[in-house]
Assembly symmetry: C2
Homo-oligomer: 466 residues x 2
């Protein structure tokens, strides 16, 4: 491919952002050429690290004029290849947009730049007694901007919702260079099409989000956590909907298959969970609120709701250290299982009561296609991450046999009324399976929207759909 980024353009980029923030050495190109998706690498021609929306606007105007592909990148922790610069061109990193602008305690809102790390934002508002709930497992390194791009969830989504439920207003640089705010800093808005919600989950294809205004809620003063062991996968997955049907809404309800837990425990050297070979999976159940008595009643009620399921002895986390250790096990499960060969992660989601059929079907596929598989994830939302370990097939992308497996997996998901991504997005690697869930009309509408925002198709082109 001929170089699109000419020396003259590089000079202009340097004028806009300064020489230190335009990178084209091999190390930088390699570093910015991958994210956390499998083992994929595509090099950009150049990496630019602007500081402001205004600088990004100038960059986009130049790139739009010269039809240069631009791939925006937040924390680089994505799992569907959304930030991988498959078209070369410019890799635009938002890592320097890292200021929390205002925590508005009067209106319970925060205005932040989008290169802020999710956990940093959470900690800053927590210091004021406020709560921004969406936190993917990668919260210590992912950015708010990436969370917006993928409409991220995390373990609290079951009670508190996803990014889309907290976004009030976004500052966006369009591919054509205009800077807009998509809404207003208000809790209700029926003023034209909801451009704010259209941006959320659009995976960096419609614009570069540079600032976000989120609503916040009071931080719940108390939480309690228990770990419930199940002797069969069926009972663990069936128990999930039973908890909700009994009238409880846990603040987290996570499913972890025993193999994933064992691998994670070894990975982080944890001994908090007793090893018991009769266990097939655990549910991690957290409740939160302001009144410990109410929470205790909730915990008891949930335990009663599980009477009749095939469970072992419930483990109550006694102090914050035990809670943290349990959460560490859950949060680092992906990293742990990846390290031992489970490199392909899929982000299935089905109606909650269909979880037993999903888990059962996944295991059947493993037998049929000869792969090892572990499941874990946000069971309360019906959102299960499926990690596959098939020797010789570290990637799904570009490997026909693995693609066939995933095609079967997603057919199963769709047959259960689910969809192919709950929170990771389609990006690059899931694009191939999109036609299982979206038809030509859907894609025509999405392409039309893309064309409206990005007439020259320069921004993250070829992600989600062609």
């Amino acid at each position: 491919m001929a170089s699109l980024v000419t020396p003259e353009l590089i000079e202009k980029f340097v004028e806009i952002v300064g020489g230190s923030y335009v990178l084209y050495d091999q190390d930088s190109l390699t570093q910015y050429g991958r994210d956390e998706t499998e083992k994929l690498l595509f090099l950009p021609e150049i990496v630019i690290r602007p500081r402001t929306a205004d600088e990004i606007s100038k960059i986009m105007i130049l790139c739009n004029e010269h039809k240069i592909p631009v791939t925006p990148r937040a924390g680089g922790t994505g799992l569907s290849g959304g930030a991988i610069p498959t078209k070369g061109g410019v890799l635009l990193s938002i890592d320097r947009l890292n200021e929390i602008i205002e925590i508005d305690e009067q209106n319970l809102q925060v205005t932040t730049e989008t290169g802020v790390i999710t956990e940093v934002l959470q900690d800053a508002v927590k210091a004021k007694g406020l709560f921004y709930p969406p936190d993917p497992s990668s919260k210590g390194s992912c950015f708010i901007g990436g969370n917006i791009a993928e409409n991220s969830g995390g373990p609290k989504a079951v009670k508190y919702g996803k990014v889309k439920d907290y976004v009030l207003n976004l500052e966006v640089v369009l591919p054509t260079g205009e800077i807009i705010w998509t809404g207003a800093n208000v809790l209700k808005n029926s003023t034209g099409y909801n451009l704010t919600q259209l941006m959320v989950g659009s995976e960096g294809t419609l614009g570069i989000v540079t600032k976000a205004v989120f609503k916040l809620i009071p931080y719940p003063k108390q939480d309690m956590l228990m770990l419930i062991p199940f002797h069969t996968l069926e009972s663990a997955s069936a128990a999930v909907s039973a908890i909700f049907r009994a009238g409880y809404t846990p603040s987290s309800l996570e499913f972890v298959e025993i193999d994933a837990l064992k691998i994670a425990a070894q990975f982080v050297d944890s001994h908090v969970v007793p090893v018991d070979d009769s266990i097939a999976a655990h549910l991690i159940v957290e409740v939160d609120g302001n009144d410990p008595e109410v929470l205790m009643k909730d915990m008891e009620g949930i335990a009663i709701a599980l009477d009749g399921f095939d469970i072992g002895e419930i483990f109550f986390a006694e102090d914050s250290q035990q809670k943290e250790e349990l959460w560490k096990l859950r949060r680092r499960a992906a990293e742990a299982v990846k390290s031992v060969g489970y490199t392909v992660e899929e982000d299935t989601v089905v109606p909650r009561a269909k979880l037993p059929e999903l888990i059962h079907g996944v295991k059947d596929l493993g037998v049929k296609f000869d792969f090892k598989v572990v499941c874990y994830g946000h069971a309360g939302d019906g959102n299960i991450h499926v990690r596959i370990n098939k020797e010789g097939f570290p990637n799904s992308y570009g490997h026909p046999e693995m693609e066939e497996i995933l095609n079967e997996l997603f057919k199963l998901v769709v047959s259960l009324g689910g969809t192919i991504s709950g929170e990771h997005g389609i990006g690059l690697t899931q694009k191939r399976y999109l036609s299982l869930i979206l038809n030509d009309t859907h894609v025509r509408l999405m392409q039309g929207i893309k064309q409206t925002f990005d007439p020259n198709n320069i921004l993250n082109a070829g992600k989600i759909f062609d």
Copy 2:
């Protein structure tokens, strides 16, 4: 205007839906030519009342081919003229799509046709112990489809959110006749652009929503209600954000100015609220949950948080009859004040802590432009309905002097960081003020989206923007 709906077309429409459901007598045209917006009337050429998405698809294919304007209509209770057939042509009523298809108690979801009355849906799910919270004041007559079109809120939105927070999936007939489902029946979805959220609040301009899948929550077992009188408008409006800052999230937090309350009390012949001339406004505060002791603590905590505000004696509703009577007063306020001349209703929304400045500014405008005005609404969301009574100006639409007044009002709203509609939409009557909040780029994007969905601009054309 020459008739677009030829006898040949009428014959085809009759073939599709049956003769009883194609109306063109003067009474029907008049009945379907208005909604609850001021005193406006535009006659359609013909009214069609299809039963199914399939029939609607056939109608749209014909209308698209012949470029006939189509105005979709749900309950006809809109307050921004969205369902008024300003272009003549076909008025398409969804009132026969009135079946609740399935209440899924396993997954806490309901699938419903969109011509179902909101309160009917609420009651049906409540009978199963489930809760669908969004209920505009018109809940007894508005339709789910209209609520989706306007992204309706209502008094529970402050704790439970708006329609957009409950919609999982929509069946939509596009202007070109294709029928799509916008998402999947799952709680989390990151699979392409969020067409579901794009439809919500699009005011019937992008497609006709024929079925909706909503998530439900367990119905809270208890609620408590109190009415707090304030001696000044300033203290009442300032108290709103104080309640949230103290860490409470009421299930409703409504503001009612004393004049509105008095007029409503007379209108419904209610004597539940003691008359006291020293009172300027009330806040209606409701809390809900499962544990009455917790609720009582919340009520006490809220009362303590209001210590130092200029309040009168708090009235606690003692039983469900008193609660119902208070709610009746609030819900029928709009109808009541309209009946005595407050015909122009505006739907302002600002960040919560800006309410005192909004109310104060509204009153100043009343003095400056010589009109009477009452305010009431969903103060917890910063969403205040402003009702104007100016002799000789029953409408805003097409009355330059009233338009000047509203222009000033909305400039104030925007200067406070707010927007011009919180839950009523832009429709016909608010279109004139859109440029105060959206610039040319916003409108270009929205027009591009509209063009993608409706290439011949036949569906509710001229609403929101031209």
